[in-house]
Every structure is written in C-alpha cells, then in structure tokens.
Point group: C2
C-alpha cells in the first residue's frame, strides 16, 4: 500500500514526532462527509469542562486534542476519533486545539480541502507546511493570556511530544498539564464503546514460535541490557507476543491490551470478559501454567497504570524499565526517570520484523491466494469493462469478494485504493460515491489492495490499461518498472539500511526529470498490521534498522501525473541471503525475493527502454507467477483466470 | 582525498561529536615516531598542576586533553598538538584523560598499533569500537572518587561535547569544570608559538565577491532570522568572509582569527602585528572605510572573549546571537542561553559552499594546471619505474615538484597518499621511510594528491598499473569505475541531499559482493580547506545540506583488498543544472561536471564489463581531457606529457 511519506513528514512537524507506525498511511477512515459539522454547542460544553475544576484543579486556558489512541496506533477505533468528534474533520492526521476564544485545527496539504469542507466557522484551519502557518506552540503562545494552563490527555500524547510541547510552553511562562479525564469524552454523549472483539489464538503452525519461546527471547534481551521490566504498549507487539489476534481496529487484527513482562512474571491487561473461552484460556495456559515464570497474570485493561505504579514503587535502586519512546506520556511518566530506559524500537518490534520459516511459508501461501483473487479480478475486468458498468467502487468490491473466497480470509488489510485516470494521481485516493469513476478502455486503472489471511498479510498494487495506453503513460510506467526492478534485484551487504536503496527506485525517473513524492517501501506484518517498523525503504527515514534476512517489505515506486493518471507497481518482497561472486570481509549479501506473484502488465511497458537484465527479470518473474499461481488456479478450477495469467506472462523480447 | 568516514564515525563516538569539518581525513600530521615517548615526569608535573589551586579553586581529580584547537579545526598547528605532547601518540584522533592514578588515551581502529608503539607504560590504550572498551564518561565514573572535579580547557572542547560529558558526570555526582589556563601548556616548556604567517589579500578576480557584499548577504540572513550578532569561529569561514588567506596551519590556507558581525559593526580578532602591511590595511579598508557599517574594527586575537562578553552585557532583551554548535564551549557559554541561537551550519558555511562564477573559473584553471602536473608525472613514472629507482616518497616528491612549477602554486592541499601494492589497501596511508615501497611493473600504484593554487584547490586520485594488471585487479577497478561514473553522470532533482547518491557508487561493487568502508565524497573549498561542509556524498551523514548548482564535491569510490592492493578513482566535480526530457513539478534537475581532467587508465579497465553508456562516458571524459589539458600541455611545451595524454585518451570500444 502506498505509504505517503511526504505527508507523514508533514505530520511529523505538526505533532513533533511520527506516529508509532513510522510509515503513515494516509487513509480516510470513514466516508468523507462534505458538509461541515455544527460545533458551536459542543465547543461551549468543552469550554465549560475546561473551566470545571472537577477535571483539573485550576481552569484550563487551552485544551489539545491529538489524533491518536493510547497505543499510538496508526489506525484507530471509532471511540478514539476524538478530534473528528470535536471539529468534524475525519482525515487521518490532524490536531485540534481549543482555547477560550479560539478553535484551531492543524493538518497537512492532503487535507486542506476536505478539512475546510468538514469544519464550520468556529474553526480555523491551520495549513501545515505553509510558511505563514504558526506551529501549535507558537500559536498557543501568541493567543494565551499570561501564565496559562494548557491541558492534554496524557494517554493520547506520546512522551516525547509531551516533552517538546511542555518545554516550549514553559519557556513562555505557561504550563502543559495532564488532565486525567478526557474532556472530549466528558462532552461526547454517544461515544462508542471501546471494541472488545473475540480473540483468536494462533497455533505454532501459523506462528512458528510459541509465546513461551518469545518470552524467553525477550527476557534474554532484557538480561543482556540489564533490564528488569518491559512495558509493551503497541497493539501489534502484544498480539505477536501472545500469539493472539483480535479485530478491535478495522484492517488491523489487534486487540486493546497492555503487557508488562518481568524476569519471573507476565502481566496481561485486557478486558477480562474476553478470556472466558476455554480454548483461549488453554492457549494462554491461564489455569495450568507449564512453569511458574511463564504463567500469565491477567488484569483489567484499565489497571495498567496502577499496576505499573506498584511495580515501580517496589523497584530496587538498579532496576530498569524498558518502554518505547513512542508510548503514552501517562505510562512513561509512571516510571521514575532514573529507572526508565526509553528506546525507539522495542525488542518485540525488532523480533517481530524478522519472520521465521513458518511465517514466511504462511506469507507465501497468503500471497498465492491473493494472486489467485487478483488474476480472477483482472480476467473479469477485461470482460466487464467494455460493457461500461464497472466503477472504482464495484471493482474494489469485486476484489474483496474474490479474496473472501480464499481459504483463511479474514478481511482487508487496508481500504482498497481503486482509481481510474486522474483519480490515480491522488496518492491517498479512496473511491467514494461522489468521486467514483467508471473504468474504461481509455484510462489507466490503478488498484492498491491487500488482505488479512490467517497465514499472512498482503499488499499489492498493479497499474493496468484495458485499451491502448499512450506513449507517455507507457514511458512513465517503464521508468517505474525499472525502479521496481532495481530495488527488487538489488544485491547489498548485510547490515545495509533500507533507506540506502531508495534512490535505486528513482534513478530511471530522475534521468528523465521525473520523481514521486513518497517513500519506496514499508515493513509488512504477518497476519498483523500492513505497515510495521522498524525497516523500510525511504529517503525520509534514517532511523530504520538494517535489513536482515527474513524481513518483509514492500517495493512500490510510482509516478503521478496530476489530473491525468497514476502509476504504481508494488510487490511485497522478502529479504533473503544471496551469494554473489565475492564476499567482502565475510559480511554476506542480501537481496529480495518477491512474495507477490501477480503479472505486471506487458502492454504498459516500452520494452525497448528495458535493458536485457531487466527483460530477463520480467520474464523470470512471470515464469514464476505462471508456475506457482497457475498451479493454484488450476487446483481451484479457475479457468478464465488461468487463461488470463498465461496470456499475461508471455515472454518479452 | 579519501575521506575515511568509517574512522570519522569512530571518532564521533569517542568525543561525542564530529569535528568541525564533518568529513575527517585521517592523516598522520607528522612522521610516525615508533619508539614510545617517556612521559613519567610530564605526568608528574601535570598532576601537580591538577592539584595546584592557582589553576582551579579546588584540586582536580581528572583532566581531559582533547585533540582539537579552539576553532575545532580538522588540521591543527603544532602549538595545539597537546594530546600528542602529553602521551606521545600523534595520530589525528584521540583523547587523553589523566587522573591521580591513571592515564588513558582513546583512539580508533586505525591507530591501535601506532598508539601502542608511541605511548609508554604510563598510558592505557582505550581501543574505541571494541565492545569491552568503556566510554570516557563510564571510565571516569568507574575510577573517580566520589564528588570529583574533572577539568578541561573550555576553548578546545565544543559546546555540545561539553554538554554531554557534563551531564554524564553530574549524573554520577561529579562535575566537569572549565579550567581557563591550559594545564598542558603549563607544563609544556618548549611549546611552539602560535603561527602568525603573512596574510594574503585576494582580489575580486579570485574571489568574485567583495567582503562588503559578503557582509551584506550575511546581514540579510541575520535580519531574516532576527539575529543581531553573528560569531564566526571556523578559520575557513573567516578567511572566506574577509577574502584573506594565511598559512598558519599546514595544507590549509587559513589564519587564527575570530570575527563578530553586528548589523552596524564588524570586529576582527587577529594578531594585530599581521595588519601592518599597507596593502593589507588597504584591502581591509582599515584606515578609510567606504561606509561606517562596513568599517572593520580590529582587536587582538585573545580579546574575543571579553569583547563578546561586553557585547552580550549590552544586549537588548530580544537580541539573538548566532554561533555554530561546533564552536568552543568557552565562547558559546559567554552568550546567555536566552540570547543564543546555536546552528549546525553557519550562513557563511552555506554561502561559501556555493561557488560563484569567478571561483568556478578559478577551480577549473587550478584543475587544468593540476592535470598538467599529473600527466607529466605519469609520463615520467612510465619511463622511470622500469629502472627501479622510484619509490612512493620520490613519486610524491616528484608530483609536488611538478605542481610547484604551475602558476599560482601555494602548496599541497593535504599530505600525498602515494602507495604501492599492499600499502594501497591502507586507506589512510602516507609513505614514511620505514614503509616506503618501490614502484614496479608488478603492483598497482595509487596516488591521491592535491594542491592549493591561488585560484583553487585540487584533490585527485588515480590508480595505475605500469605492467600488466591481474584479471581481479581489473575487475575491481572496473566496478569502482562504474560507481564513479554512476555518481558523476547521475541526474537528480534540485534539493536532493548528497547522501542519497552514495549507493549509486556502490551498486556495481555490491552486485559482486564487494564494498568500501568510507564515504564517496566531500565538499571542496576554493583555495581553502580541501574538506569542507555542508555537502558531501556519504551513507553515514544525514545532516548534509541539499546539493545546489555551484557546489563542488569529490567523487571517489574505491576498493581495498587487504594485503594486496588499493583502488580509488577520484575526481572533483561541480554541481551543474541539467535539463532532462521532463521537469516534474518544475523542480529542475542537477548533475555533475568533472573539474578534474586526468585520464583514467584504460589498461586497468575490463571494458567488456562496461555498458555502452559507461563506455561513452569514458570516451567523452577522455576527449575533454585531451582537448583542454592537451592545449595547456602544448602551451607549456610539455611534449612527453602531451604524448602520454594522447596515448591514454584513445577511444575505447
């Protein structure tokens, strides 16, 4: 899926830091309502709450409403859409600040139009990235009376964001204060419940590693770094550690929880009602733990704060607690500074990124099934488009329907980007009734889609023309393809960070004066979030961890001609060892193996622009698609799709 | 010149930060003495000084001796070689710390052997980069008695280094204290004088921009950022600003000075004896300034501290002082925190990096003269090597002699790296009598050399074989050449940072499992330091500024086969605008033009490994060498060199 690093960059400058998922997907998490929300009464109630000493000992002169949830998730549940509730704007990125006199909302260039349509006159839109737009800190300082209190919910602001904002405000004589009760929740009468979906236990045949082994590995890392406690707050890390999945957040098979792991104890904080299923209790060995140090103590989700407090109060003078520096300010500050060890990537994040043999096998299976669905889709589109009845939305629906027919399908891994012609040039596009275009023989079609299967997560983009593409469209497609191949076929030393490969994806475009304004790839989870750290391929990220065999990332260069068409070619690829002719300093070398096996449309290629090596790569890739996916199509008796696959994988010369 | 980023990386971790020149050249700044210095008596005297309350109000339990000078220069003058004086080790990187009981010296992998040979048993060698080696802070904390005072000269420790060290020590109950008199100087009886060489004024025909214009541009930047004072501490920035050159530091045409620029005043701090020459006084308009705000007030070098103090004392509440975050702790701390604006790159550093038309023309001329000298050298080597009398040292001397015959020659820009066979694999090699090898028909010869001319600075590396290279040597050379061409011919959007091009230089090597452990390029001054920021091409630097037309950098990939040979191909290249087929978002595109015009030895190429594009690049490059340098060789009547040039620039097919 397209990663929109450009925008995430903008978000970064707005809120001081990146969201937990270091790759930001710019999705519209619900349909875009185009009439403004009426907010006068809501603001009045919020301001009343700000003055109410029930919530804070003194009146607040300002209140900050960030976008995130208490886990700094990239996607959030409806109950956490507080910024949307207060101002009406439902884009993925934005921070609202309300003072006695003003209400302002900061968002980035993607959302200027949408935000201006969704917010009423009570709100000032702060257009981030424009020179004249003040930062949140500068704006607050310019409008606040002396010695003001600025409130924020410490659970939904990350520790380092808090630090920056607090420093700026206190430098100007104000103070940032933690308000334990969320003031939006106080005025949000019909706020949805926090989801508590059924949990799914995953066996070794899916995970390849038991939770006991994962805990043991974690504890070994803790011992190595002299850490006595580890606090897990990222939902995907907790799901991975316990080999559990949920469905609390759309597209992300996670569940609301915290975990605290000591050298002899494991505490899981989760809605306890979820743990009544005997199979689940059995999976977690809640009633008969194998060894005492592997027994899991369960606590209500909300009690993590007091429990962590109790743990910290009982600490020895040398005890250290590991917590991600992206964790909430509330939990981070429970740990006394002298005992706190804040790290950018937790050991779980790092371990999760390197897939084991079972996970790799599962990801391969998931991608074959996914390819079956897409071959079927494209064969269907070829037949249906000439009839003039296929739209962006119906094509996306068809893709979902076909995926849902595959074994172990759970749901989509993100909202399908299905875009025709000029809509394809809107990188974060998602079809809506008011923008929905009909697929035709005259325009380029771009579909970026993926699914969650129990054995793996997929994410693939193909750009097709069902008529005759223009010379320019073909030329651009070919440059993008050259970039895709340059990354996919790159050989590089062990220890290389992904961002060093980003320029390979651009060289052919650059040579012709073209470029794309997003990163080239993101980490992909295994039946987990489609975006995960700590690896990726982007010129904007220097904090990525080195690529290692077993990591899985996307390779998705593109080109976008505003008002005309969009091109992106995306495969999910696995980092594998390779043995070139030499082995300098015994470092070993790596390359990528495509997991995605969907033909890349030859009709869109100007093959004369490809080198022999690139043509060989295309032929070998298509040979593999035909062999592997062909066998599965045959097995499933999908004749039309098989015929399409064979036609689309002819050798190019 | 080779940049040894690997080592500079190590240095960084040692002293907390990079030296001012963000590219570190690992040179041995004097011949390596291989017997240890006897330091017992010196250490006794130093410890006596540490206890002497004449220097600090309380006894010091430890004293830190960093490598640098008060300007955080990359190369330093003999009077600043304090760390060498106290421990005997004269490598370019190292920090000595002396306590009552211990004496320890931290250096990196390049210098383990040398340092162990140069230091006596009073010293413990701290091998940086090894896991078991403690950091300076950790070591101090482990050996110091409670509540210790650790002294350091605040002039030779940078502000941020001070901050880090101070924080670590105070966290453990100790304190870092500034000792105004340098304690090494107190015990260094025959310490050389600070150099005060004759200053050279450069006219507009060399600089292209008057000092008045440079001051005006600087003040415009200050106004833009609401800055009232700018403190210049980097020697090359001061030389550039005043269009003056000196010879205080070997290879660097700079002079010891500070400058403080206000909106109406310019203060220059320099040994006033240097300003007696009427021509110089005229250049600086000391006696008859054109406009009052451009009049230069001169002060003794040492008075910068008190003068800056006076300025700060007279500041308004909103006044802001710009100072580089790499400036000394002493000067930085004079400026009250509320008035201080510490920046990674000063406006002078940024302006100096973009060469104007006159400077570019000068650099081109300097490179033509330099090429003449090198063509002559190589023609001479071809004849002389078979006689068996040419050594690394005599070849380097010959190169210097030939350069010195060129107009406006001033001196070398760095110590020549002249290396045969296995010595070539030592990246920071410099020939010494005890390592000096004879050039032969059987080994690869690598020469990395450059000069200062009044019109420009050069830096070029060529790797040659005067007999028959092995297939492996040719193969490696060809990969390095492919990398060199990939960078030199790269087209990239305006605004691209140099580090994004680094992987282009490595792709061909990586494909075969090879690599080199240094950066690919550094900024080059114009009759200034051969290494300058803020641009460069290295995977290790993310803080580089975007490349702009007019910037000049080196392009120098390499390959080093330990114990056997070294290969490096280095040109200095100019960033120029280019117009590819398209112009995405009107950003414009850039590429490089080689300024270095010395043939690249065809004999070392496996031309069958080159693509047609690469062969075309070589032929076009050689055509230009022949045309431009050939004309100058002809003019200078250097027939042998011309013949050699014509032979070495034959077309390849």
């Amino acid at each position: 899926m397209q990663t929109c690093k450009q925008q995430s960059h903008a978000e970064r400058s707005a809120n001081g830091r990146a969201p937990r998922s270091w790759i930001t997907f710019s999705f519209l998490h619900s349909g875009v309502a185009m009439s403004p929300k009426i907010t006068g009464e809501l603001l009045r109630q919020l301001r009343q709450a700000m003055r109410n000493c029930k919530y804070f000992s003194e009146p607040l002169q300002a209140y900050i409403v960030p976008s995130g949830d208490a886990h700094q998730s990239e996607y959030i549940a409806p109950c956490d859409c507080r910024r949307e509730f207060i101002c009406g704007f439902n884009g993925s990125a934005g921070t609202a600040i309300v003072t006695e006199q003003h209400a302002a909302m900061w968002t980035d260039g993607r959302y200027f139009l949408q935000a201006s349509q969704q917010m009423d006159n009570n709100w000032t839109l702060m257009k981030m990235g424009l020179k004249e737009t003040p930062s949140q800190e500068d704006w607050l300082i310019s409008v606040l009376p002396e010695n003001s209190k600025v409130g924020v919910d410490p659970w939904i602001i990350a520790a380092d964001q808090w630090k920056n904002m607090s420093k700026a405000l206190s430098g100007a004589g104000h103070s940032l204060v933690a308000v334990q009760d969320n003031l939006i929740d106080a005025v949000w009468m019909d706020r949805p419940e926090r989801p508590s979906t059924q949990l799914r236990a995953l066996g070794l045949d899916y995970t390849g590693k038991s939770k006991a082994d994962k805990i043991t590995t974690l504890r070994a890392k803790m011992t190595e770094r002299k850490i006595t406690w580890f606090v897990a707050t990222a939902l995907d890390e907790i799901a991975w550690l316990f080999n559990l999945r949920g469905a609390d957040i759309e597209y992300n098979p996670v569940f609301f929880a915290y975990a605290i792991v000591g050298m002899n104890t494991i505490r899981l904080f989760v809605d306890l009602k979820r743990l009544s299923d005997p199979a689940l209790r059995d999976h977690l060995q809640l009633d008969s733990p194998s060894k005492p140090e592997l027994s899991i103590q369960t606590f209500p989700y909300e009690s993590v704060y007091t429990e962590l407090q109790a743990i910290c109060a009982a600490q020895g003078p040398k005890d250290k607690v590991w917590i991600c520096d992206k964790a909430s300010c509330a939990l981070t500050q429970v740990i006394p500074k002298a005992h706190r060890s804040a790290i950018p990537y937790t050991p779980l994040c790092l371990a999760k990124a390197v897939k084991n043999a079972t996970e790799i096998q599962g990801m391969k299976m998931a991608h074959i099934k996914d390819a079956v669905a897409l071959c079927e889709l494209f064969a269907w589109l070829e037949k249906e488009i000439p009839k003039g009845n296929v739209t962006e939305i119906s094509a996306a629906d068809k893709a979902e329907e076909l995926r849902s027919q595959q074994k172990d399908f759970v749901g989509l891994s993100f909202p399908t980007i299905s875009s025709v012609g000029p809509n394809g040039a809107i990188i974060h596009y998602r079809p809506l009734p008011e923008t929905n275009r009909t697929l035709s023989l005259n325009e380029v079609y771009l579909i970026d889609s993926g699914a969650q299967y129990v054995d793996g997560t997929t994410d693939v983009t193909r750009t097709m023309h069902f008529g005759t593409p223009s010379a320019f469209e073909k030329e651009c497609f070919t440059y993008v393809l050259k970039g895709h191949i340059a990354v996919s076929a790159a050989v590089f030393p062990n220890g290389t960070k992904g961002h060093l490969l980003d320029s390979f994806a651009r060289a052919a475009l650059w040579d012709s004066g073209l470029d794309y304004l997003h990163g080239t790839g993101h980490g992909v989870g295994c039946f987990l979030n489609v975006h995960e750290g700590p690896c990726g391929i982007s010129y904007k990220t220097f904090a990525d961890e080195p690529l290692e065999a077993g990591m899985i990332v996307s390779d998705e260069p593109g080109y976008y001609e505003d008002g005309s068409f969009g091109i992106r070619i995306e495969n999910v690829v696995l980092v594998i060892p390779t043995k070139p002719k030499y082995n300098y300093r015994n470092r070993g070398s790596l390359t990528f193996e495509p997991l995605t096996l969907v033909p890349i449309q030859v009709k869109m290629m100007s093959t004369e622009l490809l080198t022999q090596k690139e043509r060989d790569w295309v032929n070998e890739y298509h040979r593999k698609c035909r062999e592997v996916v062909g066998a599965e199509l045959e097995r499933q008796g999908r004749k039309d799709a098989l015929e399409w696959l064979i036609r689309e994988t002819q050798l190019i010369a």
